[in-house]
């Protein structure tokens, strides 16, 4: 499908702000995210970017893939840089939007302090985490976002220890508990939903956070033409539930009635190739419990106190 036709169908900005010619892997999930979120943000946007795959592949001097004003300082400080930009824009009395982009390492782990500080101080910015569930840029090591049992180079699936031994950090809840004005999860298989959420996140006054499930051909070990399929399966199995938390109230944006078994998703990826039957069962149990818990939260109404 040609780019212009796709844009017309999806109702997205026809202009591209993340240009072709970058060095991302074939089928890179995060690169698709960059394209969609910049379209949603539009031309009056400044981007602060953490060190990571998308920074490295897009800005090898003297080239750049970015048609928007873009800055990268260090790995862990993208949220702080974004906070500085937002404060300067306030001084300049400009309504330009601030978009902060980081991978899961720059969000869940090394970037968490700066993110926490920026949200607590109430800076008006949107932080988008492209979550490919590992440090892919350095050769796929485990992060706080890597799921249990995943085979990474720092948690290899060995005879004694089977991949990562812990599960993921619940970053969405951490952000909601901070009082972020808008928190959402997204997946590139549902690009319209991602596009809408970026618009919403940028429209609220105050800090917003979106975590995007981002399949990684290198780290997850699947054929490069399966990126969107894998993303859809993550949602359809319930492993990547799509919801928003607005003012402390959780609402699903895509509710899956008959969830597919997790093995449909796991089975397509080399990182889960060696999983024992009982480990697959544990992941299924984890998924079921979490999904049901989220559904119960949706029924409760406000689940996080508003901070104002």
């Amino acid at each position: 499908m040609g780019g212009n036709l796709m844009n017309k169908i999806l109702g997205m900005d026809r202009k591209e702000y993340f240009m072709k010619g970058h060095n991302a892997c074939n089928g890179c999930g995060p690169a698709i995210i960059m394209r969609i979120i910049t379209k949603a943000a539009g031309p009056d946007t400044i981007i602060a970017h953490a060190t990571g795959c998308m920074e490295v592949v897009s800005t090898l001097y003297p080239n750049t893939a970015w048609k928007l004003p873009w800055i990268h300082a260090n790995f862990e400080n993208a949220a702080a840089v974004g906070a500085g930009i937002e404060t300067a824009l306030k001084r300049l009395k400009k309504k330009t939007k601030v978009l902060v982009i980081a991978g899961d390492g720059g969000t869940y782990d090394i970037g968490l302090q700066a993110l926490s500080g920026a949200v607590e101080r109430g800076h008006d910015l949107l932080f988008v985490c492209y979550d490919n569930e590992a440090y892919a840029n350095t050769g796929v090591q485990r992060s706080g976002a890597t799921p249990k049992f995943a085979d990474t180079t720092s948690t290899p699936y060995g005879k004694k220890v089977h991949g990562k031994t812990q599960n993921r950090k619940p970053i969405e809840f951490i952000m909601a508990a901070h009082g972020a004005k808008y928190v959402a999860t997204a997946a590139i298989g549902y690009y319209n939903d991602l596009h809408d959420k970026v618009k919403k996140g940028l429209a609220v006054k105050g800090p917003a956070f979106i975590k995007v499930h981002a399949p990684c051909t290198l780290g997850w070990k699947y054929p490069y033409d399966k990126t969107i399929e894998i993303s859809k399966l993550a949602v359809q199995t319930g492993l990547a539930p799509l919801y928003e938390i607005v003012d402390g109230e959780l609402k699903f944006t895509k509710k899956v009635g008959n969830r597919l078994p997790v093995i449909k998703y796991l089975g397509m990826q080399g990182r889960y190739k060696k999983l024992a039957k009982k480990e697959v069962e544990e992941i299924q149990d984890y998924c079921d419990e979490h999904y049901k818990f989220l559904l119960s939260l949706e029924k409760k109404g406000r689940v996080f106190p508003r901070i104002f």
């Binding site: 873009w70 800055i71 840089v81 404060t87 300067a88 001084r91 302090q113």
Partner: protein, 386 residues
């Protein structure tokens, strides 16, 4: 909070912290990004007072740590707004990686550093280990001796760093407690006078949707060295601008500090020169007067600008001296004091001795400096006052 009032266009008895905070205020920064640390705290408190009292029209970001303090300053300065931070010791060490990013991106952020020792053992008192340890970070480093110089240097720092021939960040280093908490008479210039000296910030480039730029890209093996060399040359070239700004300041305000890079005292005919940094110079002046009364031809050179290293000015100042005593309030563990090392390399034909003094707030007494002058040329490196 009791707000302290200052009289502009007059001499006030104020602390070094007040002096530098007022200097910064007079330069009209628009974003201040700071995190508290002893002994920088009073500088930050004064600035917070100015902002919250409406005396300084600016935004203050009270960040969650020094790493974010300097990172938020990057974002703000890159968006085209005059920005400052302030720190000390561990805070400066925590900023380490970002300091290189600031200079590499040619962002003229201005930052006072209230000099303090580094852990371990933890110690809040004065030496120069914190900022000397950042000498390779690509920041201009200006060390001051008095409250007046702190105020004046703060104003100058913006003009130096923001010059389009320079575009470098500037650290203004002042001795923790021994200057930050010491009260002295300081002339506070009027806002009008400062405005006539320091133009509005005119960014060379900025983050602007109307003209998008990519800042902070990847520099591969084919470009990295050239970019580092550009940065190095900008740093070397900044010496010229620092001198020029010192001269311009003298014309406008009637005060100057040596040639802007170093300040000398009775150095022309001195057989023995003591080289030092910061407030120790005030003690050294007295020692030199005492020794001269006894017939010893002693003199002093105070390094005001440590980066860029003032090689030409120092060589000229030391041309007639036989012996040189370098006082270091830092130690490059396993080698020597940093300043000694560099002076020795600069003056291969002189007898240069290094003296480590005043670490972690240990008093540097007159007898310590007199000892260094007497032993200059005879010792290699010695610890004094222990």
């Amino acid at each position: 909070m009791a707000f302290v009032k200052f009289k502009y266009g007059k001499t006030n008895v104020i602390s070094g912290s007040d002096a530098i905070a007022i200097g910064i205020k007079l330069a009209r920064p628009e974003v201040l990004s700071v995190y508290p640390i002893t002994p920088q705290t009073i500088i930050a408190e004064r600035l917070a007072q100015f902002v919250n009292n409406g005396e300084l029209d600016a935004e203050m970001i009270r960040v969650e740590g020094e790493h974010s303090a300097i990172s938020a300053a990057i974002g703000s300065q890159a968006t085209g707004v005059r920005t400052i931070s302030a720190t000390s010791s561990q805070g400066l060490a925590l900023m380490h990686e970002v300091l290189f990013t600031v200079s590499g991106m040619r962002l003229p952020i201005i930052m006072p550093v209230a000099n303090r020792a580094l852990s371990a053992p933890i110690n809040i008192w004065n030496d120069h280990q914190d900022s000397i340890s950042q000498r390779d970070a690509g920041w201009i480093q200006l060390y001051v001796e008095s409250g007046q110089e702190a105020l004046d240097t703060a104003i100058q720092a913006f003009k130096i760093g923001e010059d389009h021939e320079v575009l470098l960040p500037v650290m203004i280093c002042l001795d923790g407690f021994q200057l930050t908490h010491v009260y002295e008479p300081v002339n506070i210039p009027s806002q009008k006078l400062v405005d006539s000296f320091l133009p509005k910030y005119n960014p060379f480039f900025k983050l602007d949707p109307k003209k998008p730029v990519t800042m902070g890209p990847v520099g591969g093996p084919d470009s990295y060295m050239e970019l580092r060399k550009d940065l190095h040359e900008a740093m070397l070239n900044s010496a010229k601008i620092i001198k020029k700004v010192n001269d311009e300041f003298a014309k406008k305000f009637g005060r100057s500090y040596g040639d802007g890079l170093i300040e000398t005292y009775k150095s022309k005919d001195a057989e023995t020169l003591v080289i030092c940094i910061g407030g120790v110079a005030s003690t050294a002046r007295e020692v030199i007067d005492d020794l001269r009364k006894k017939g010893l031809k002693a003199g002093m050179v105070r390094i005001k600008c440590y980066r860029p290293f003032p090689s030409a000015s120092l060589e000229k100042a030391c041309v007639n001296a036989k012996n040189v005593a370098v006082i270091d309030r830092n130690i490059s563990l396993g080698a020597s004091g940093a300043v000694y090392n560099e002076v020795k390399a600069l003056l291969p034909k002189k007898k240069v001795s290094g003296f480590i003094m005043g670490l972690g707030g240990r008093d540097v007494k007159k007898e310590h400096i007199a000892y260094a002058i007497k032993k200059a040329g005879k010792k290699v490196v010695e610890w004094v006052g222990i």
